[in-house]
Symmetry: C2
Subunit: 198 residues, 2 copies
Amino acid sequence: MFNSAGSVDRLVNWLSRLPGIGRKSAARLAFHILKLPAEEALELADLIREVKDKVRFCSTCYNISETDPCAICTDPNRKSDTICVVEEAMDAAALDKVDEFRVRFHVLGGRLSPLDGIGPDDLHITELIHRIGDEVKEIIIATNPNVEGEATAHYLSKLIAPLGPKVTRIARGLPVGSDLEYADSVTLMRALDGRQEI
Amino acid sequence: MFNSAGSVDRLVNWLSRLPGIGRKSAARLAFHILKLPAEEALELADLIREVKDKVRFCSTCYNISETDPCAICTDPNRKSDTICVVEEAMDAAALDKVDEFRVRFHVLGGRLSPLDGIGPDDLHITELIHRIGDEVKEIIIATNPNVEGEATAHYLSKLIAPLGPKVTRIARGLPVGSDLEYADSVTLMRALDGRQEI
């Protein structure tokens, strides 16, 4: 594309492999980086080097962390009787923003997806089972509310229930601030199914 | 957001300042980078370092290049009597993909935009004027077909016309493959104004 500058071409190629970034966005990003002051652009280079260098996965919960075990697993202010199971570290980060929800997490590293060849052995499921001791009273399954996430939740609940802890699933229903009129029928059905007395 | 990993937070912050990338996309990109094999992620770090290191602006046409003058300015197979004026290096790259269009370029580095405080002195306009010698027969103004691009084109044409070369403007009309029914009225007007005998 830019035969006059091989490295720019390679940067565009690299960026266009990012999720959700097409060739045109990649070119726009590359040009943006080119126009940035050198120190600001090199900051990104250094940050990438730093995260790849420092960031590890916690050997207990498989969340990302610069320490092992991670700050969440060693936090004495979190309930140790509840483990919230999520697909990815991003999901744990999203749930952790809810101030009232101070629990420990377990990151599966994906969801069951037979079509993509992802089975139970590809996720941190055995490690989750090993974490379930006598003190664990509840496992909250917070996989995504889509087909694969629900299948993963179902699989986990069957596996965990016999071990003792209560297995719960996050509620599916209408998002706060949304419009009933625009909701799809599956969401409406879930909202009706999950209705609670007021 | 990810209090357990400071460097990830800083990476997300950096990425969210990119054009068209919000906080959520930035987080998704950061996690994608985290999950990549180390060598692939470090390739990006190296590429950024490399482009900031190597890529310069050609002192003739102000296009990006690893050499000065750039490969386009020194290409003997390009017409030296025609200069195509564009706003940004990306625009030159887009036009250069048209195989039948082998000309030299001049990158202004932006467009006139009084609201943003960008005047003629902020663009490479004086440098363009200096390039216009006896051998230059045509200046094609290929700034964007929007208000600021048109104003820039108008300004340049007034400035260049007295110097001798023919000043032309790329055609505004209906994009190939589009639907007349959905075109806006300004585009339709331009398409009618620019009608040609067949």
